[in-house]
């Protein structure tokens, strides 16, 4: 029962498991990236600064990703009418947020504001505000890395 990051699982919107190999590779990359956040400070991407702080007892970190803000995981060619989900492709909005080491799924809106999986209907101006809102919402609970249990 492979554990993969939330954003990878949830990219598989219609339950397809194509792309698991891609997800595994990405998980390795994410781990490597997490181990050396300082290397990525100031990298191109969202144009946003990295942050690393303890907020209400939780460590929140944010940093630009190597994806440079493109939708790297969301290759084109999807006609609206065809089925099968996204094949496990995730979205890279040029920035990643972690909460006590777990990745928080985030998304950037067209106007530059942000939402996360725990505040999905309310926009925030910056990833740091988004991370702080998630801490408040979680009230001490840990994020659940989704486990694939069924198709």
């Amino acid at each position: 029962m492979p554990e993969i990051s939330r954003r990878r699982v949830l990219g598989m919107s219609a339950g397809t498991f194509a792309g698991l190999a891609v997800a595994a590779t990405a998980a390795v990359n994410a781990t490597a990236a997490k181990a050396a956040p300082s290397e990525r400070q100031g990298s191109q991407g969202s144009g946003l600064e990295a942050f690393d702080e303890v907020y209400q007892g939780r460590r929140i970190q944010g940093a630009p990703t190597r994806g440079a803000g493109s939708h790297g995981g969301h290759g084109g060619g999807h006609g609206s009418g065809h089925g099968g989900g996204h094949g496990g492709q995730a979205h890279d909005f040029g920035y990643a947020v972690h909460l006590d080491g777990d990745e928080l799924h985030i998304m950037r809106n067209a106007d530059g504001t942000w939402i996360s999986v725990v505040n999905h209907y309310e926009t925030f101006a910056t990833p740091r505000q988004l991370a702080r809102a998630a801490v408040t919402e979680l009230h001490g609970a840990d994020l659940v890395p989704l486990v694939l249990t069924s198709a």
Partner: protein
């Protein structure tokens, strides 16, 4: 024929049968399949990429079909049940009968937000949150604490007055009836209600709270109300548009239904008013 009624008009028996059917779907595992599907779409629908369930023109027909599927599942349990709708412009406080223990139960307790009474409370043992984004396995709410207030009738009417269904760039930045109803622009209707309820309703796994269905049944009714006010306005876009479901494209996950198929709700259900 299925008639969707205002939740405030339901009899005690209708409420009980609706809740019974929800609990049976939950017990059988079918309920959580809907939570999983919704979460998958909300996480993958993006403003710059392919988008189907949210932040796109098909937000309304996608949820219409999603609710029809869910209502059919309820009716397999009890053929007399229909989805009620929650007019949050009228029943706008935590003391509304919607939140009484004989129906959906009330707000969560301060702090962890755990719903403590009613049939969806953790103590009932019948409503475990399995599809979740954090460790907490119990239903949570924080009625009225996350958003300043529920939308007013005047705010709804202003959105219903918008004559154009949707517009480029066909996402959360659009100036259109669809996007103002969804709430990414303007007064903020649909999104704000999710935030007002709080708990799982603010997350990608929002259908974990049964009020999800009553909220979306009202959003769906507002689409029908808009159609009645603007008989010369239709779903847009009507021609193939990158990453967006146009009028005659099929929608995932069903792949056999188009927005055009969903424009008329009356083959499936009618409203009480």
């Amino acid at each position: 024929m299925t008639v969707r009624k205002n939740q405030s008009a339901l009899t005690r028996t209708e409420k009980r049968r609706f809740v019974d059917a929800l609990l049976e779907l939950k017990r059988s595992g079918r309920y959580d399949e809907f939570v999983t599907t919704h979460n998958g779409f909300i996480m993958s629908d993006t403003d710059q990429g392919e988008r189907v369930g949210h932040r796109s023109p098909s937000f309304l027909p996608w949820h219409r079909r999603f609710l029809i599927d869910f209502e059919r599942q309820l009716q397999e349990v009890d053929p007399e049940v229909a989805l009620p709708y929650w007019d949050w412009t009228v029943d706008r406080t935590p003391s509304a009968s919607l939140w009484a223990d004989d129906f959906l139960g009330g707000s969560g307790r301060p702090g962890d937000g755990k719903v403590m009474s009613g049939r969806f409370a953790e103590a009932s043992g019948a409503w475990e949150i399995n599809i979740r984004v954090d460790q907490r396995p119990y239903l949570r709410r924080a009625l009225g604490t996350g958003a300043r207030q529920l939308p007013t009738r005047a705010e709804v009417d202003a959105v219903l007055a918008m004559p154009v269904y949707d517009a480029s760039p066909w996402n959360s930045a659009s100036t259109s009836f669809r996007n103002h109803l969804e709430g990414w622009r303007g007064a903020n209707l649909h999104n704000r209600v999710h935030v007002w309820v709080g708990g799982q309703m603010t997350t990608g796994v929002s259908p974990n709270d049964p009020v999800f269905w009553l909220h979306h049944a009202f959003v769906d009714k507002l689409w029908a109300d808009w159609q009645a006010r603007h008989p010369d306005s239709g779903y847009l876009p009507t021609t193939r548009t990158r990453n967006v479901v146009s009028l005659h494209d099929t929608m995932r996950p069903w792949n056999d239904v188009t927005p055009a198929d969903m424009l008329d709700h009356t083959p499936y259900y009618t409203f009480d008013a």
